[in-house]
Amino acid sequence: MSLRTPSSRVSFAAVTPNNLGTVRKLNSVLFPIKYSEKFYSDIVQPDVEDFCQLIYYNDIPVGTMCCRVEEKDGQAKLYLMTLAVLAPYRSRGIGSQSLQHLIDAAVAHTKPKITAIYLHVQVSNDDAKKFYERHGFKETGLYENYYKKITPHDAWILQRDIEAKAVEVQ
């Protein structure tokens, strides 16, 4: 094998109208959910480009992560809508690197300042919950009947606070 370390094979690029077809393709195989046209028009907005990214492995798109910024009471939070990597590319630390990339971007962001990242995880998905907990996320509540058609219907709410210059939580 080559001398390249796994991390050097992973790279990121912002979602744009031009590569949106790749995002659609990934979403169609990664999630049991259909995303609306609004979802796709939101993630290509320039103000979220740091938080809506394609994940590449050896220059091939293998995953995607998309957030939106929610502002309430003068505080801005990042809501992680999607984060996933194609099955054959899992267990290589790509997800962790991606989440770390996202956290770094959130820390560095100033206008607006991001105070937290949160997301929903279907209550049957223990692996995902553990993954986020390893990266400093904590369960802060339960959203009943979050999913309308797929079961189980409930979702955990997981959140990680962001402090400026936060030290890496690993």
Partner: protein, 856 residues
Amino acid sequence: MPPAGIPPARALPSKESSLFKEVLHYYEDRQLKKGLKAADSILKKFPNHGETLCMKGLILTHLGRREEGLELVKQGVRLDLTSHICWHVFGLIQKGQKNYEEALKSYTQALRFDKENMNILRDAAHLQTQLRLYDGLVETRHTLLRLRPQLRQNWIGLAVAYHLSGNLAEAKTVLEQFERIVKNVPDYDVEMSEVLLYHIRVLEDLGEYTEALTLLDANAKSRAIIDRVAIQEFRARILSKAGKDEAQQAWQGLIEQNADCYDYYKGYLSSRGVDVDAITDENRDKALQSLHDFSQQFSKASAPLRMALELASGAKFAELVQPYLETRLEKGVPSLFADLKSLYRSPEKRDAIESAVTALLSTLQHPPTVPSPPDTDPTEYIWALYFLAQHYSFLGNHKKAIELLDEAIAHTPTLPELYMFKARVLKRAGDPFGAAKNMDLARTLDLQDRFLNTKAGKYRLRAGLVEGAVELFGLFTKKDAQSPSHDLEDMQSLIYLTEEADAQLRNGNLAMALKKYDAIHKIFDVFEDDQFDFHGYSVRKFTVNIYMNLIQWEDTLRSHPAYVHSAIEASRILVRVYDDPKLASKPSSESELSSAEKKAKKKAKKAEKKVQEEAKKANPNATNEDKGLDVSPPKDEDPDGTKLLQGPDLLERAVKVLKPLTTMAKDNVNVWIAIYDVAIRRKKYLQAVQALNHAHMLNADSPELHIRLVDFKRRWLSLSEKPSEDASLATSSAILKLLPDEVSVEVFNSQYLQHHSSRADAILAAAKVSRTLGAPREEVEASLFNALNADTALAIVAFLSEIRSPREEEFRTACQGKFELSTLFLSPADLAAARKAVVQKDPVAEAVEDKAETIS
């Protein structure tokens, strides 16, 4: 001009005489309006002054009033036939019209009356070069040098003229004299450096290697030649040709500079007595050892490794190819198959590659639903699948290729190459619609990739979707262009024009097809015109070496595949319309405008109008603008090409486009078949037989030739009045050789069928011939059903439909059974549906329609 010799009609009083000098002056400075005013005031008093009329005409032409200008110039010349100014002006105008022959005649006239005019001599030299009149060129350049020996470029001009006329020895003499007398050359002078390199090239071409090397070494040392790479390359090449031992070291030095240049390795090996194009078992190991050493020394270079694959055989090849494949698959080199394809000429190498990649694949294999094993690389697996899919499709196993690609797509659905190649496999298997759809899937993954966009457009054209294709191309063409097609034509995109013309032809729109082929021919005319400026520029700037390559390239310009193809197709269309003039008036079903097309047309018109208005706005002062002498292309008066199909000169136009092919593509059977088809209809019997003879020499068994032989014999026998005796004799003795008199055409045809009974294309040709000979339809049909072969099957369907066979449907169904992946044998209705399905709004979005949960 000596005043004594002025004819009375030309003489002007001193006031007007100085006014005329002003006209010349204003023209030189491009102060066109002032020049026009001055000319007018002379003409007020002397309306018949030829030279002034010519100057006024010239100025008007520059101002864009071309017709008016031309009229005045002609009038002026008539009024003063002995004025060099009049003839010079006339020549300038003709040159602007690209009428080089006539222009040269005018220049020759001008020189009669002013033998030593430098400007006219120089222009004449350029025209002589353009027209390849090299003897005259030598003479002109001689005169120029005699008049101004102090101008450096005049020496080079003469040397180049001798070189072009084939007299290398004289070129050498001129260069030697020049170098002897030239003085005060500054250090690092690029021009002098080019001249010296040119001199060395001349010596090399003359075979005077020792002299060449002496000159090269002396001037390299004195730094008179400043192109270091050229010095090394010239040196290595000439040393090799001279058979000197130092050649090896020279090539080695070049390899050290650029370890990825194949020519350097070839030169190196040849200096060690190995001809890589004719490797033998004796020197194979020696060559491989050298390449191995180089690959150790330059670990990043690919060339020595790849070249070793070319030279190795047997077990050694297997041993070398495995690491070559592995490193590139691991790295993910998409072009790997294209790189290795040429090795497939050897079945042994082909099999070795197949088993190496198959073995590698088995170690990487894993299901697409789980994480890949930690010690393997999932992308390497994808690239291995991709490679093997290309391998199998290349060998004609399209089903296996699709299986492999589907496996790869299930694993990694985001790699455009996978969809692109799936499209290509489907295309090869005869499904242009599935192909276009898959190419579009690849395109939607990355909209800013122009390569993907172009491919998707091309595949739509292959599926007959002209409009849909142009729409895609439009995403990347200039936004302010009249239409995407116009922009691509302006950009001289031969591939686009060829593909659209072919698509229009398949759709039965002969007019548009011919229009696009015509556009291709015009582009080649432009290529030819483009060299004109270099006849002056390259000599003036001393860029002679590259200029000689340009001239060579221009001389073989029309051997370009795009020209050959479009000339043959255009000629076929013209012949078809000649045989059946109804084709020109009958609008084909495809060309009837749908409402969408009408809308598009309106839009194009609007855009055109806007462009024109903007052009006007940008140039409010248009009257004083210099529009130059070159005639710009006229406005398109025939947007759908219908006028091209009309006119009495169809065959003459075919002759014109085919003419260059008799020398540029004389090894192409189809060229001679096309020439025959035109000649026989023009009743040029000798020419027709000669074309058949050429075709016969190239491929005696050609089915198309067989059809023509019978055609000729029938036409010849039915001639009531044979052409004049000489030609007639020559013709009949020529045809005798190809189709002897004692054999009837019927027997000739059945003999041909017997000899080629296993070839589908020959069966079709024989069937066509028996139909023209009046065989019953049932018999013709029966013979065709023996010919189930994918390449010819489609042509058979077309022919069955042409003879209105009731068994057409049966044949289609049989084909469908035999070529399962193909969609080309669908019924016309199903074909239309398949074509429509290609253009979807968003293929990915459609695929996920069935998801249960929706998130907004």
